[in-house]
């Protein structure tokens, strides 16, 4: 064991540099998708932009802790959701005491009441809900529920990835998703079908 062979050392450094460039390029290629999730997790576009920038700054610093070949989008979103928590978002409302919680079919039933059963056969029936009302309803969900609904319904993550990103058990993902979607549909029914 003497001095490291300078040629081997140079090759090692070059190889690390290549890995790093590859990591950065792969991460940047996902920026649109990361932004889309961020945009629904926070209220304003400015907050979403800040959050995405902070996420990439941290990702580029800690790129060595990413294992090549694993889900990079999930890895980035784990950083993002942690940063979002660190931003000290407001204390959680306690969803357990919300009085009314309708079933899974609530919105469909309300639509059927106002448009007729057959209306449910048309894809377009959902377009009676305005896009704004969906965005508003999503942003009104308690934070814990919104995180899960956004990751699964907008980010298109499976339960296992969502659980890993948020560092919660899969069962919790499923129950929050279930209640979150019920609340969402309840809200949509109240707001859009008045």
């Amino acid at each position: 064991m003497g001095e490291p062979d300078p040629e081997i050392e140079a090759r090692r450094i070059a190889s690390v540099a290549r890995d790093r460039v590859r990591f950065e390029e792969e991460a940047l290629a996902l920026a649109d998708q990361v932004y889309r999730v961020a945009r629904r997790l926070v209220r304003t576009r400015e907050e979403a932009e800040d959050l995405v920038q902070e996420t990439y700054a941290r990702a580029f610093r800690s790129w060595r802790s990413y294992t090549h070949g694993t889900n990079l989008r999930a890895w980035l979103l784990r950083i993002l959701t942690n940063l979002n928590l660190d931003r000290g978002r407001k204390v959680q409302r306690t969803p357990d005491i919300q009085p009314l919680e309708e079933g899974d079919y609530y919105l469909a039933n309300r639509m059927a009441e106002s448009q007729g059963e057959q209306a449910l056969d048309q894809d377009m029936v959902v377009e009676r809900l305005s896009q704004d009302s969906i965005v508003t309803a999503l942003s009104s969900l308690p934070d814990n529920f919104r995180d899960v609904v956004v990751l699964v319904d907008i980010g298109d993550f499976g339960y296992a990835d969502a659980a890993q990103i948020l560092d919660i058990p899969i069962g919790t993902v499923m129950s929050r998703l279930h209640r979150g979607r019920r609340l969402l549909k309840q809200q949509l029914a109240e707001e859009a079908l008045r």
Binding site: L28, A31, L120, I134
Partner: protein
């Protein structure tokens, strides 16, 4: 009520929509849907709603953000 709320089918809805359901349960849901127009219409509605919720979020990054992200790289350009 002329058609029951089909509790079991409603319970399977989430896993079915998320493609996170055991094969036996999927078969169970599908055989129920085959014979139950009430649930079939509601599943269909849920599928459309999911798609629609997703389209409300198909928002591209604001111009300039990509540039700022690129500047955060260790080696620029």
């Amino acid at each position: 009520m002329s058609h029951g709320p089909c509790d079991k089918c409603e319970e399977l809805l989430q896993g079915y929509l998320d493609r996170e359901i055991a094969e036996t349960e999927r078969a169970q849901a599908e055989s129920h849907l085959d014979g139950c127009e009430y649930c079939r219409r509601r599943y269909r509605f849920e599928v459309s709603l999911r798609r629609y919720v997703r389209t409300t979020s198909e928002e591209r990054m604001p111009p300039g953000l990509m540039e700022r992200l690129t500047q955060l790289r260790s080696v620029e350009g």
